[in-house]
C-alpha cells in the first residue's frame, strides 16, 4: 500500500499545525464560526447533534495494521471506545472535543493518515474497490490512479470552494464494486486493443434529493491525461455550477440543466486549452506510485488445503461463515475474508477499539499487515492463506465479528440517522435492527444476495437509491416513517430504485420488507437474483405484495 515519503509527511504535518492555529484562533474568538466552518470541514470536523464528529480518510479503503491500531487508540483516548466506518471509505469518531482535534490530527499524521478534505465543498476522499489489487477480474490496480488523483486534488488551490462537495471514484473491474455510477466523476479504467490504459469518464452522478447516475462524457481518455481532464471538469463546475441553492449545487444539476451534449462541449473546450501541458502525467510518476502497490510476496501454496477442508466439513458454523465471508483470490491457496460489522451483534459500520485491535492482529499474524474497508461498511482481510481461515474465524468469534451474513438481508448499509446526525429526519440503526431481526438466518440464505440500504434522511448517505431495497426515513407529524424503493442496483448495471408507494410506519416496516422479499421468492426463476427478477417482472408485483398484506 501507499507509504508516505518526506513530501507527503511534510504536508500533513504542516497542515496539522495550520489547523492547530486555526482552532486556537476560533477558541479565542479571533475567528467567527462562519469563518471557521469551512476550515474545520476541510479538516474533517463536523458539528453533530451531541458533539463534534471527526471524519478520517482511509484512501481507497486500505489500512495497515498499525494504522488500524492507531485508530483504536483514537477511539479509546478521544472518543467512547469505538468508530464508525462509512460507505465512503472513511471512519467517523462521534464524540470529539474541539480542543482535542489538533492532537487527533497529529496522531493521525504520525501513522500516515489525515482528515484533509473529508468534508466541505471540495474534492473528497477518492474511492475505489475494496478488493483492488486482489480481485481476479481487474485489469489494472485502480488504487494507483486513485492515489494520483488524491494527491492532485489535495489542497489544490483553485478547487477548494466549489459550489458543492465533489466525489470521484475509480474502478477497473468487470463488476464495479465501487458504486462508480453515483459519483460526481466516475472513472472506468480499461485496456484498449493495443493494451493502452484508458478511462471512460462519466460525470454528474449523485444521490440525495434528486438522484442521478453519471453520464459518459469521454470514452477513451488516455491515462496520462486524466488529471487535465478532471481539471477541465472542475473548472467548468467551479465557474458555472449553481451557488444560489444548496440542493441544486451538485454537478449533476449542471450536467442535467445544460444537457450532456452541451456540458461535454464546455469541458472539451476547456480541456483543449490545457491538455498536453503541465498536468500531463508522466511514465515516471505512474511507475513511482505503482511501485507502492506491488503485490505482496505470496508463497506458493496448494489450491486446496486438507485441514481447511476438514474444518469445513466437520464444523457447520465455520462452513456457514466460509460460504458468505471467504472470497476468491487471484493467487492460488489464498482467500480474501470479508468481515461483517452488522446486526444482530454489531451496529452497521461500528467497531470497538478491541475489535480494531483484533483485526489488526489477524492481519499481522496471517496476512500482509493490511486491511480493507468496503463501501458496504464491512472490512476485508485481503490475503489469508486457506490453512489459516479457521484460526481467523475463531479469533473473530471471540470479538463478535464472525457473522455469517455478508451479502444477506442483515448485511444492511445504514447511516447513523437520528442517533448522531443533525440532519436526520428519522432513526436508522434501531429500525434497521428490527428489519434484520425479522429474518432467521435460514430465511436470509433462502433470499440470498441482496442489498438493503437505509438512510435517515434524503441526503442518502446509505445509498438507499441503489439498494435492491432502499429505505428512506421520513418524519410525518412527529413520527418516523419509511419510504421504500425497489429495483435499485449498483455495479455496471446501476439503477436508481423506484418508490413503491406511501411511506410505512416504523412498526410495519419489517413486515413490509419481508413481503417484498417473499414476492421475490415467489416469482424468481431458478438462480435469478433479486434484481434480475425485478427487471423481468417490474415494480407492480412488489407493490401489490407490500401493501395488500400490510394494510398500509
Amino acid at each position: 500500500m501507499y507509504r508516505y515519503d518526506e513530501y507527503d509527511r511534510a504536508l500533513v504535518n504542516e497542515r496539522v499545525e495550520e489547523f492547530r492555529d486555526q482552532v486556537a484562533r476560533r477558541m479565542n474568538g479571533e475567528l467567527t464560526e462562519d469563518e471557521f466552518l469551512p476550515l474545520r470541514l476541510q479538516n474533517g470536523l463536523y458539528l453533530q447533534k451531541h458533539a463534534y464528529m471527526m471524519r478520517v480518510a482511509i484512501p481507497y479503503g486500505a489500512l495497515s495494521s498499525d494504522q488500524m491500531r492507531g485508530l483504536a487508540v483514537i477511539a479509546n483516548k478521544f472518543d467512547r471506545g469505538y468508530g464508525h466506518f462509512t460507505t465512503r471509505q472513511n471512519i467517523q469518531f462521534n464524540w470529539i472535543e474541539l480542543a482535542d482535534t489538533p492532537d487527533i490530527l497529529a496522531h493521525l499524521a504520525s501513522i500516515d493518515m489525515h482528515a484533509i478534505q473529508t468534508s466541505g465543498n471540495c474534492v473528497r476522499n477518492v474511492t475505489t474497490e475494496a478488493y483492488a489489487g486482489v480481485a481476479p477480474d481487474e485489469e489494472y490496480d485502480p488504487r494507483i490512479f486513485a492515489e494520483i488523483i488524491r494527491q492532485w486534488a489535495t489542497v489544490n488551490p483553485e478547487f477548494l470552494f466549489l459550489p458543492r462537495k465533489f466525489k470521484i471514484a475509480v474502478s477497473s473491474s468487470q463488476e464495479d464494486r465501487a458504486a462508480v455510477r453515483m459519483h460526481d466523476i466516475g472513472l472506468y479504467l480499461y485496456r484498449d486493443k493495443e493494451e493502452t490504459l484508458r478511462f471512460q469518464v462519466m460525470v454528474g452522478g449523485g444521490l440525495g434529493r434528486t438522484p442521478f447516475l453519471n453520464k459518459a462524457v469521454k470514452d477513451d481518455l488516455h491515462w496520462s491525461e486524466v488529471l487535465s481532464y478532471i481539471e477541465a471538469v472542475l473548472r467548468v463546475f467551479n465557474r458555472y455550477g449553481r451557488r444560489d441553492n444548496k440542493y441544486k449545487a451538485r454537478i449533476k444539476i449542471l450536467v442535467n440543466s445544460l444537457g450532456i451534449g452541451d456540458f461535454r462541449e464546455e469541458v472539451e473546450a476547456e480541456w483543449r486549452q490545457i491538455r498536453g501541458s503541465f498536468s500531463t502525467l508522466t511514465e515516471d510518476e505512474l511507475s513511482r506510485v505503482a511501485s507502492q502497490f506491488l503485490s505482496p510476496l505470496y508463497s506458493t501454496l496448494d489450491d486446496a488445503n486438507l485441514e481447511y477442508g476438514h474444518h469445513v466439513t466437520s464444523n457447520s458454523e465455520f462452513a456457514a461463515w466460509v460460504s458468505r465471508s471467504v472470497k476468491p483470490h487471484k493467487v492460488k491457496g489464498y482467500a480474501s475474508v470479508a468481515i461483517s460489522t452488522k446486526f444482530p451483534t454489531n451496529t452497521p459500520g461500528d467497531l470497538t477499539a478491541e475489535q480494531m485491535q483484533c483485526i489488526a492482529d489477524l492481519a499481522d499474524a496471517y496476512g500482509f499487515r493490511v486491511i480493507r474497508i468496503t463501501h458496504e461498511q464491512n472490512l476485508v482481510l485481503p490475503d489469508i492463506p486457506k490453512e489459516y481461515l479457521f484460526n481467523v474465524w475463531e479469533s473473530l468469534c471471540e470479538v463478535g465479528l464472525a457473522l455469517p451474513n455478508v451479502g444477506l438481508v442483515s448485511d444492511m448499509i445504514v447511516c447513523p440517522g437520528a442517533s448522531y446526525c443533525n440532519l436526520a429526519t428519522a432513526h436508522s440503526f434501531p429500525v434497521a435492527k428490527k428489519v434484520a431481526a425479522a429474518y432467521s438466518i435460514e430465511e436470509q440464505l433462502e433470499v440470498g444476495d441482496i442489498s438493503i440500504n437505509l438512510s435517515g434522511c434524503i441526503n442518502a448517505c446509505a445509498h438507499h437509491h441503489i439498494g435492491n431495497i432502499g429505505i428512506l426515513g421520513l418524519n410525518k407529524s412527529g413520527e418516523d416513517y419509511y419510504q421504500i424503493t425497489v429495483g435499485g442496483a449498483q455495479g455496471k448495471d446501476s439503477q436508481i430504485g423506484k418508490v413503491i408507494g406511501p411511506a410505512v410506519s416504523e412498526e410495519l416496516l419489517p413486515v413490509v420488507v419481508k413481503k417484498i422479499t417473499n414476492a421475490y421468492l415467489a416469482n424468481r426463476n431458478d438462480k435469478e437474483t433479486f434484481h434480475e427478477t425485478f427487471l423481468r417482472i417490474g415494480l407492480e408485483p412488489f407493490k401489490l405484495a407490500a401493501y395488500e398484506s400490510a394494510g398500509a
Binding site: 515519503d5 489544490n156 483553485e158 478547487f159 508522466t282
Partner: protein
C-alpha cells in the same frame, strides 16, 4: 482601498490605504483613481473613451470577455462577495494563464487570512483584506504549506515534475 497587502518580487508589504476607489457603477466625471465594474469599463472602451487601465470583476462576470483588451489593463480587482464562493480562484487562473495578464491582480471583499495562500497560488499578488481585520496579522496566511502536489499559477509544475520523489 484600505488594508492592502502587496507581494512584489517575493516581498510582502502592508499598505494601510492606497488611492484607488471601487466604483459601484459608471458615472460622469470619473476620477483618476476610480475603478469601474468590468461591464461598464468594457462599454467605455467600446465607445473609444480614455479610461483608467483598471477595472473590477464581479462574482458572476466572465473574465474571458477581456480577451481582446487585456493589454490595456494593469490593475484588475476580483470581488469576493463571500469567501466560500470560489469562482474568483478560477477567474484569477483564467486571467493569468489564458489571457496572460501580467499586471497587478487584487482580491477584495470577503478576503481573509486563511485563504491568502490559495489566492496567491492562483495568481493574486495583492489583497484588500476585509475591513475590521488586521492586515499585519493576515500576512501570516500568505505562505501556506511548503508542499503542494498539484501545479498552480504560481508554480505551474506539479510536484512530480518538480522533484525526484
Amino acid at each position: 482601498m484600505k488594508n492592502i497587502i502587496r507581494i512584489q518580487s517575493n516581498e510582502v508589504a502592508v499598505v494601510k490605504a492606497d488611492n484607488w476607489i471601487i466604483s459601484e457603477e459608471d458615472h460622469d466625471a470619473l476620477g483618476s483613481c476610480e475603478i469601474l465594474p468590468m461591464k461598464a469599463w468594457l462599454a467605455r472602451i467600446k465607445q473609444g473613451d480614455d479610461v483608467n487601465p483598471a477595472l473590477w470583476i464581479d462574482v458572476d462576470d466572465d473574465a474571458m470577455e477581456l480577451q481582446d483588451v487585456i493589454e490595456k489593463l494593469s490593475f484588475i480587482c476580483v470581488f469576493f462577495e463571500d469567501f466560500k464562493d470560489g469562482r474568483g480562484y478560477s477567474t484569477a487562473y483564467l486571467l493569468r494563464k489564458r489571457l496572460n495578464y501580467q499586471g497587478e491582480l487584487r482580491a477584495f471583499g470577503d478576503v481573509l487570512r486563511d485563504q491568502l495562500s490559495l489566492m496567491r497560488q492562483c495568481g493574486f499578488d495583492s489583497f484588500a483584506i476585509k475591513e475590521g481585520k488586521d492586515p499585519y496579522d493576515a500576512t501570516k496566511g500568505i505562505k501556506g504549506l511548503s508542499v503542494t502536489y498539484s501545479g498552480s499559477v504560481s508554480q505551474p509544475n506539479p510536484l512530480y515534475r518538480r522533484v525526484r520523489r
